[in-house]
């Protein structure tokens, strides 16, 4: 399980304050990230490559990040908007489905249904905030698909909710925009490309195994994409925004590949 000790800044309901905290968090992360890279460079892998002991660490970091951006483009090119991830029978569901987040199970956020509103902003026609009842009133579907974690393990689960493409059309999103970003009640944030957002299996998920999504799987809602790795699937979503400005993500800003496709 991925756990991140840094960045225990707590949650505050006010978005402005949260954003400010997030920025601080990002700065706090830098030393950790440096330490990671220093460790990776001290392994001799690089002196093997360059034949010398002293290597400009940030230039290697930049080169690897550039390849990662290139890999984003290759994945966008490989991505077939009509190709479906395999689906499975009920009997193959992994029980219990593993919990995974950047924090431990003892820190799972409990979001109250009362007063919950999903904010929708950016390049959309209808910016009204959604209640859960409104979302449940939209046509629902469910799917049993494989969740693949960046760590390598995978598990099969059953998710239900609103096809994200119908939701985006309903709010009049600019479907030619590049990105859809997510801000979450657990201070997680991520973003995806529009073709994946419109993929038929991308689901604004309200249920797990036909029950309301429990807090451990991201109540009140998560975005479920069987075409992307686990860290691209945000839980406890509070705000969705459509934009042409690259929004990054919690793990992506630390070096995980942004496209994260499968």
């Amino acid at each position: 399980m991925i756990k991140k000790p840094a960045r225990q800044l707590g949650f505050n309901g006010e978005l402005l304050l949260k954003d400010a905290l997030k920025d601080i968090g990002r700065h706090l992360e830098q030393p950790t990230r440096r330490a990671f890279l220093q460790r990776s460079l001290s392994l001799g892998g690089l002196s093997l490559l360059s034949g010398c002991a002293v290597v400009d660490e940030s230039s290697v970091e930049n080169a690897l990040m550039k390849v990662s951006r290139f890999n984003d483009k290759v994945q966008a090119w490989l991505f077939d908007p009509k190709r479906l991830a395999p689906t499975y029978p009920d009997s193959m569901i992994t029980r219990p489905f593993p919990f995974n987040a950047y924090y431990g199970e003892d820190e799972i956020r409990e979001v109250a249904e009362e007063g919950y509103r999903l904010e929708v902003t950016g390049l959309v026609a209808d910016k009204h905030a959604w209640t859960l009842a409104e979302l449940r009133a939209m046509p629902q579907t469910d799917q049993i698909t494989r969740h693949i974690c960046v760590e390598g393990w995978s598990a099969i689960g059953k998710w239900g909710g609103v096809p994200f493409a119908s939701f985006l059309r309903r709010v009049g999103a600019d479907l030619n925009a590049k990105y859809v970003g997510f801000k979450c009640a657990d201070d997680y944030y991520t973003s995806i490309d529009m073709p994946t957002a419109l993929h038929p299996q991308t689901l604004l998920t309200l249920t797990y195994d036909s029950q309301p999504l429990p807090p451990r799987y991201g109540f009140p809602m998560k975005l479920r994409m069987p075409t992307k790795l686990g860290y691209k699937n945000p839980k406890h979503i509070q705000a969705i925004f459509v934009t042409n400005t690259y929004p990054g993500g919690y793990w992506e800003d630390q070096g995980y590949n942004w496209f994260g496709g499968s």
């Binding site: 890279l37 093997l48 690897l64 390849v67 490989l78 960046v150 793990w251 070096g255 995980y256 499968s262």
Partner: protein
């Protein structure tokens, strides 16, 4: 013609050999770090011999070096096929001659006088490592893009099976490299030949 003046390894073989060696070292060491994030055998790889420092770093190394392995491997195979070297050097291969050469090797009677000629054991090892590398690339593609390559995924038995295939193919490659390095240590002029060409 003497062995000293004749070119054993043309320049393209030497370049692709060393580029491949660098790619394989990076891919193997970073791959071990990725394996450690979620091991499926009852062991992990000691972190000191892995590359990347953390999972994200290891993945960046792995997914950069994969292009090196793939591009270099395609150049190597293309040159090998077009020049006819693949058939000249590695084929024919017969199981009977292979057994005879293994027995000769065990008795210390296998000659290394002519480095440009591969015996049946060498042919088997080099053909194995070529096929194994192809398997590594294909199983790696399934792990990277299991949804986008459905036929390949099903051929390998699904995503989870592909993880094992990728690991075992890595183990095969590492075993080859170990024996390869041992042989180089026993016949050091093969190293010179791979650098100077003669």
């Amino acid at each position: 013609m003497t062995n000293d003046s004749e070119l054993i390894h043309p320049l393209w073989v030497r370049i692709t050999h060393w580029v491949n060696a660098v790619a394989v070292v990076i891919l193997t060491m970073s791959g071990w770090r990725i394996y450690d994030a979620s091991p499926f055998f009852p062991f992990t790889i000691p972190v000191q011999i892995t590359l990347g420092g953390w999972l994200g770093g290891a993945i960046q190394w792995h997914f950069a070096a994969m292009w090196l392995l793939l591009g270099n491997g395609l150049v190597y195979l293309a040159c090998n096929v077009i020049s006819g070297r693949l058939w000249r050097k590695f084929l024919p291969w017969s199981p009977r001659a292979f057994v005879a050469d293994v027995l000769a090797a065990l008795k210390g009677k296998l000659s290394h006088a002519d480095l440009s000629h591969y015996n049946m054991v060498q042919r088997a090892a080099y053909l194995f490592v070529m096929l194994d590398s192809v398997l590594l690339v294909l199983s790696g593609l399934v792990l990277w893009k299991s949804v986008q390559f459905p036929i390949l995924r099903e051929l390998l038995g699904g995503y989870e099976a592909a993880r094992r295939v990728h690991f075992l193919a890595m183990a095969g490659l590492v075993a080859f490299a170990g024996i390869h390095l041992l042989m180089v240590a026993l016949v050091p002029r093969t190293l010179l030949a791979m650098i100077r060409g003669r």
